[in-house]
Symmetry: C2
Subunit: 368 residues, 2 copies
């Protein structure tokens, strides 16, 4: 099944195979054959051999030798899960790239890689603990399973952890409980009496905290439990499916907190299809990591959007770690809150959860 290990093909092997020297082979493969005056016939033979033997250059060897300019290459990486929303990864990438652009000099260049693992299964990621991969990483979107592994495992490179406390590591987090608490308060203030929260099946440290704080605050302030909807994934369609199911079972809500943005998009679609008006019938609070929230119809109130801020903190911390400086073990980011139309105060029309509580579409708003 598994193919037998075959040692890599090197220029020396090609050289031996053809009865020429490694220097000649190297010259040809590096496209230096003209200035080195290699005979065209030899060039052809070497090219053919490289192709047929399946030669793949060893970049480590190349880099080690090539020392004209930009010798030093600093390898950075963003470690994230396949399941994480791409925009979040994109923001981190963008921030890191911008920093790298500034830091680059004639004799130091940077490479920013992305490394992806399956959520909850970071321990199965091979090569993660190799010391010869990266100078530093930003690690994000881990599940509790992953966190447990990371707490034990000794990552052999500096790392900044996003959204999770890991002992002995530099961590950047959303201020705990803030998002969940504020979103609950906003919904309560908007007059909601039967709010719900929707989250994906997989909870990161951050989303779990949001959920818990939302629940806690609601209980504390109103004595009630929120309806908790669990969607299969984080895509809009997952949220839509979860909500449709809830609705079909006769479940009703008059407020909704979505722990990620993509879920809010799905919820909006469902509400629209069902003729449920925002905010007249349901107030919605989202997270705002996508920069799209204000373009929703109606514009979405958001209590977070901390990803960008967290990344902005994390990147300089990573560079400080690279320089060997000591950094604070923990940085908290307080997310900005944007009150928009989706939570404009209203008297909810839905109280119970049994009868279809919402009037048909187009009915006038109760208040503005």
């Amino acid at each position: 099944m598994k193919p037998a290990y075959r040692p890599p093909v090197t220029v020396h092997q090609i050289a031996r195979h053809l009865g020429v020297s490694a220097a000649t082979v190297s010259s040809v493969l590096a496209h230096r054959h003209v200035e080195r005056r290699i005979a065209p016939a030899t060039v052809e033979r070497i090219r053919a051999a490289a192709q047929s033997l399946g030669y793949i250059p060893n970049m480590a060897g190349r880099r080690l030798r090539a020392h004209r300019t930009a010798t030093r290459q600093i390898d950075l990486a963003i470690l994230t899960s396949f399941e994480a929303p791409l925009p979040l990864v994109g923001q981190a990438l963008h921030a890191l790239q911008r920093a790298v652009e500034v830091q680059s000099t004639a004799d130091t260049r940077y490479a920013v890689a992305i490394e992806m693992f399956h959520a909850g299964r970071i321990r199965e990621k091979t090569g993660l603990l190799d010391a010869d991969r990266y100078h530093g990483v930003i690690l994000t979107n881990t599940l509790p399973e992953d966190d447990r592994f990371l707490a034990e495992a000794a990552l052999p490179y500096p790392a900044v952890i996003l959204g999770r406390r890991i002992p002995g590591r530099c961590c950047v987090l959303e201020a705990p409980e803030f998002v969940g608490r504020r979103s609950a308060e906003i919904l309560i203030d908007a007059g909601c009496r039967a709010p719900a929260v929707i989250h994906g099946r997989l909870l990161t440290h951050t989303t779990a905290d949001r959920l818990a704080a939302f629940r806690h605050t609601l209980r504390e302030r109103t004595g009630r439990e929120p309806t908790v909807l669990v969607s299969e994934g984080l895509q809009p369609r997952h949220a839509a499916a979860a909500f449709e199911q809830h609705w079909a079972r006769g479940g009703r809500v008059d407020g909704l907190f979505t722990v990620t943005d993509s879920l809010a998009i799905g919820a909006y679609r469902v509400f629209r299809d069902l003729g449920v008006r925002i905010p007249a019938d349901v107030a919605v609070v989202g997270v705002g990591d996508y920069e799209l929230a204000e373009f929703f119809a109606p514009p979405l109130t958001t209590v977070a959007g901390a990803n960008e801020a967290m990344v902005a903190e994390a990147v300089p911390l990573l560079f400080r770690l690279l320089r060997g400086e000591t950094v604070p073990p923990e940085v908290l980011v307080v997310p900005p809150v944007f009150l928009r139309e989706s939570t404009r105060r209203h008297r909810p029309t839905a109280i119970g959860a049994t009868k279809p509580a919402y009037p048909k579409r187009r009915s006038k708003r109760r208040e503005r």
Copy 2:
């Protein structure tokens, strides 16, 4: 100004500095000092020296030596511009990561890097032509300026080019003219008589083609020129600003083609604010690269969404190039077309461009 070149600090320098051997230094810095029985005092001295001299390990050296497992590292990269929409980059990244996950074996590992340049200024990107960086790249989101540079420059690694024909390179493109033509046809069929198109100030080969084909088709089929709106960037707010300006000047349209998705988001917001109904007053056709189009209110008709399909073509091509196989110089992708509510057929209410042609909000739809 520019700091003088300082040769990199190596383990040998640290060793000389302290009067110990490089082997000892290496043992300590690789956290092997316990098993190698290095005296605690020595460990401390070495650590302090490494810190104070600013030691940065040379990964190339490390990788070259470390040959227990996964010796072969294949370095891949996605080259894209800072200005490109992140979701497009994210899709490419995701597709490449999935492929890499499958291709990885015990003795071959992959690293996927992202390299960003400023749109139109790829020639200023240092190290781009170094042969010691990547085994292969996917190159996307270039402007004509960049393309000109690339056509001359000899990239020293295999490359798959997205959305652009470059002689001698493997290119994956949207079927030419398709998107522009279909979007024009859809708007015409929806009854639009004064359609517009909006695009960013910077046009890639792909977006320029969309624009030209849209124009051409419209002229051919109706004898009219479209209104062309140019937005500063590709963000929703840019589109919103451009459209608001057009509106303030008394410009009116009854159909809109947005050459990228993010522009459609901004347009939707403006229409909503102005009380312009989609599709009753304006039909909108977008591109659908973001997977969000069906969640718009109303769901957006899209004529493209080819990025994902293009990436799906490009990734296997890249691996074939790595294996030294010959690949077709050009692969055309025909984007799927999704007809949704935003272009439901209607008789346009706007004909001229001077008087406010749209009735106030809430007026009944003319037809369905």
